[in-house]
């Protein structure tokens, strides 16, 4: 089946972290230990939203050596397609769910002499697991974590309490900004940089580091894209002989699944490449939204990532 190995879990606890964020704790249905994982990994949570199947990726934030449960934090997106709203409104203790085995698209480079982490908002979650792992197995790190306000700075208290010398917090509403050029200039050779947060922050951190001469292979980032909304469009599926319509709040991948087409996927956020599909005919414009295909591949229009990308025009035929 597409999407890889699954875990059957029960929601053990839901905690209001702040006005925007809830934390969910999953335990295995049969009481067996959860698989260990690597810091930076995510799981894809499957939701049955009143008949609509939603699958959203969330970074695992719990200690990877804690086999009793997995924890994720979900930031409510009132303007989103509904996945985070479903989690906030309908996922309560006792609910049985299916989640994927952990997949890591944002791993630590274990050769690094030091790990420099930059987090914005909910982008803190993968770093929580990575810091726990580094605490077990050794490894220097330094975290710079920016949030809109003190009230929205999830997990800042526990991070600063456990690692007072390594954790630095910044608040937008107090006009505090990471002095990035200075932070980057103070790192020992062999440091790897990791950034997770809003799109603008990732671009700012990567371009600043690049302009200061940091090697490309020492720079790591993770950004999950929500599939996004758009105009409905029609797609011909050549391999299965079906014609489907993708709704405004639906991704092409979701529309194929709703039509009973077993299409491959892993991250569902335009990052992993698993759902890459060949375009057979296209009379119109593919709205590429992934960061898997290269700029040249986007321009050529012979491939599409159905988990996030859309189409506008007369007709689109893909090999699925």
């Amino acid at each position: 089946m597409s999407g890889g190995a699954k875990l059957k879990v029960r929601v053990a606890e839901v905690v209001n972290v702040n006005d925007m964020i809830k934390r969910f704790r999953f335990v295995s249905l049969d009481g067996s230990p959860m698989p260990a994982f690597s810091g930076g990994a995510h799981t894809v949570v499957e939701m049955d939203d009143d008949g609509v199947r939603r699958l959203n990726p969330y970074s695992l934030m719990s200690d990877p050596e804690d086999r009793s449960a997995y924890e994720i934090s979900v930031r409510r997106d009132d303007a989103g397609r509904g996945g985070s709203l479903f989690m906030h409104r309908h996922v309560t203790p006792g609910l049985q769910m299916e989640i994927s085995y952990p997949v890591n698209l944002f791993p630590l480079d274990t050769r690094a002499r030091k790990h420099l982490m930059i987090a914005g908002g909910i982008g803190i979650t993968p770093f929580l697991a990575q810091i726990a792992q580094l605490t077990h197995f050794g490894g220097r790190f330094e975290l710079h974590y920016a949030a809109r306000s003190q009230a929205l700075g999830a997990y800042m208290d526990r991070l600063t309490a456990a690692h007072p010398a390594q954790v630095h917090c910044y608040f937008d509403d107090q006009g505090q900004v990471i002095d990035l050029a200075r932070v980057l200039s103070m790192q020992p050779i062999g440091t790897h940089l990791y950034v997770c947060g809003p799109k603008g922050m990732i671009a700012w951190v990567l371009s600043t580091a690049t302009s200061l001469g940091w090697p490309e292979k020492a720079l790591h980032h993770e950004e999950f894209l929500a599939p996004g909304t758009g105009m409905p469009f029609q797609v011909d599926l050549a391999a299965t002989g079906k014609t489907i319509t993708v709704g405004t709040n639906q991704s092409l991948l979701e529309a194929m699944e709703a039509a009973g087409v077993d299409a491959p996927y892993l991250c569902r956020g335009g990052a992993c490449g698993q759902c890459e599909t060949n375009v057979i005919a296209c009379d119109g414009a593919i709205l590429h939204r992934d960061h898997w295909l290269t700029a040249d591949e986007h321009a050529a229009g012979r491939k599409i990532m159905p988990c996030v990308s859309r189409f506008e025009g007369k007709s689109l035929t893909i090999d699925r």
């Binding site: 890889g4 190995a5 890591n104 274990t110 197995f137």
Partner: protein, 356 residues
């Protein structure tokens, strides 16, 4: 603590045999029937040929994640001898220790679950108790604490597990061979390959690059998921049941390729099959690659009529470049002549199982 084997273990099941000097290795009749004959049709060409590594037919080499067979104890003794003469056959770069613990956990849990009569693992938090009865090992140690084992975790567990192992670190959208235990290899060197990327260590393979096989295989492996291991076969030919066909010792075993005669070929020539499995490891995000070698004497294999017919046809029609890379081109005609006596021209059924 040491890892000296305390054998009293050669019983009715585990064979007391050698893979060197007098070469007393052999398969029992039951061992022949469960031999992983790699050809599911009458011809052969490279392919990625991956499938999920899920439990397979009972009694077959696929029944369990890590097959323990009648050669287990003797193979582990042979590995210890190879390592004593060349310690560089086992190497692990400093950043791969956590992956070594991942592999130790994977193997111990699997063996204790699948072969409770031979292996027992008891856990009290991170205080573990491991019993390996065939090798006479009874150790208490602390999981994730290197100082509590006589070797690093990777070397410790692979000295007790049949098959070669490599650990691949994943970074920069590539895989890097950063650890290995390699004593039963088909003529490749860990000491040469360690630290190489996926394309670098596969560079010598002919034809497959042109077919784009390695591009697809790398893409596939980068998406390998924990909990969903995969497997494939590879094969070659070896004169004498020699597990350790290493480049480092080629002057010793290479010349044996010239020792075949029509009279001794059926006894000396072995089909060498590798059952390769790939596992994503949980804590390190590394990929473990197990390369399990099975040796089948030509005389043994042709006792299965279907395999005698098919082996003749595959070797007769194989691409000479492939035969050269696998190192048996000089003996190919002699093999075909010997095998022809076991091919009556009858059709063979699809698939590799002996009886189908």
């Amino acid at each position: 603590m040491s890892l000296d084997f305390n054998l009293g273990a050669f019983n009715d099941y585990f064979r007391n045999e050698t893979f060197r000097d007098d070469f007393t290795y052999a398969n029992s009749p039951a061992g022949i029937r469960r031999f992983p004959f790699p050809f599911d049709r009458d011809d052969y060409m490279y392919s990625v040929n991956m499938e999920p590594h899920v439990p397979g037919r009972k009694g077959s080499v696929f029944e369990h994640a890590f097959d323990v067979d009648e050669h287990y104890v003797s193979e582990m003794i042979d590995r210890a001898k190879v390592l004593a003469s060349d310690p560089l056959r086992c190497q692990s770069l400093p950043h791969m220790t956590l992956a070594g613990w991942d592999l130790l956990e994977l193997i111990m849990e699997a063996k204790a679950r699948d072969y409770p009569q031979w292996f027992t693992l008891t856990k009290d938090g991170n205080r573990w108790h491991w019993i390996n009865r065939p090798l006479g090992i009874d150790h208490h140690f602390t999981f994730l604490d290197d100082s509590t084992l006589p070797y690093g975790p990777f070397e410790y567990i692979t000295r007790q597990t049949q098959g070669d192992f490599t650990l691949q670190d994943e970074r920069d959208n590539d895989l890097w061979m950063d650890a290995g235990m390699v004593t039963s290899q088909a003529d490749w060197s860990l000491d040469f390959d360690i630290g190489m990327s996926f394309m670098e260590w596969h560079a010598p393979v002919p034809l497959a690059h042109e077919k784009g096989i390695f591009d697809r295989a790398l893409k596939f492996l980068l998406k390998l998921q924990h909990g969903a291991p995969v497997r494939r076969f590879n094969w070659t030919m070896t004169v004498n049941p020699l597990l350790d066909t290493a480049p480092e010792t080629y002057p010793v075993w290479g010349p044996t390729k010239t020792s075949l005669t029509p009279e001794n070929l059926g006894q000396k020539q072995h089909l060498r099959v590798e059952l390769q499995a790939l596992f994503r490891l949980p804590r390190s995000n590394a990929i473990a690659f197990s390369i399990r070698c099975y040796l089948g004497r030509f005389e043994e294999l042709v006792t299965i009529p279907k395999w005698g017919r098919r082996l003749h046809r595959v070797i007769r029609d194989i691409n000479p470049d492939v035969a050269a890379y696998k190192g048996f081109l000089r003996n190919r005609d002699a093999m075909v002549a010997w095998l022809a006596g076991y091919d009556d021209g009858a059709p063979t059924s699809p698939g590799f199982w002996p009886e189908d």
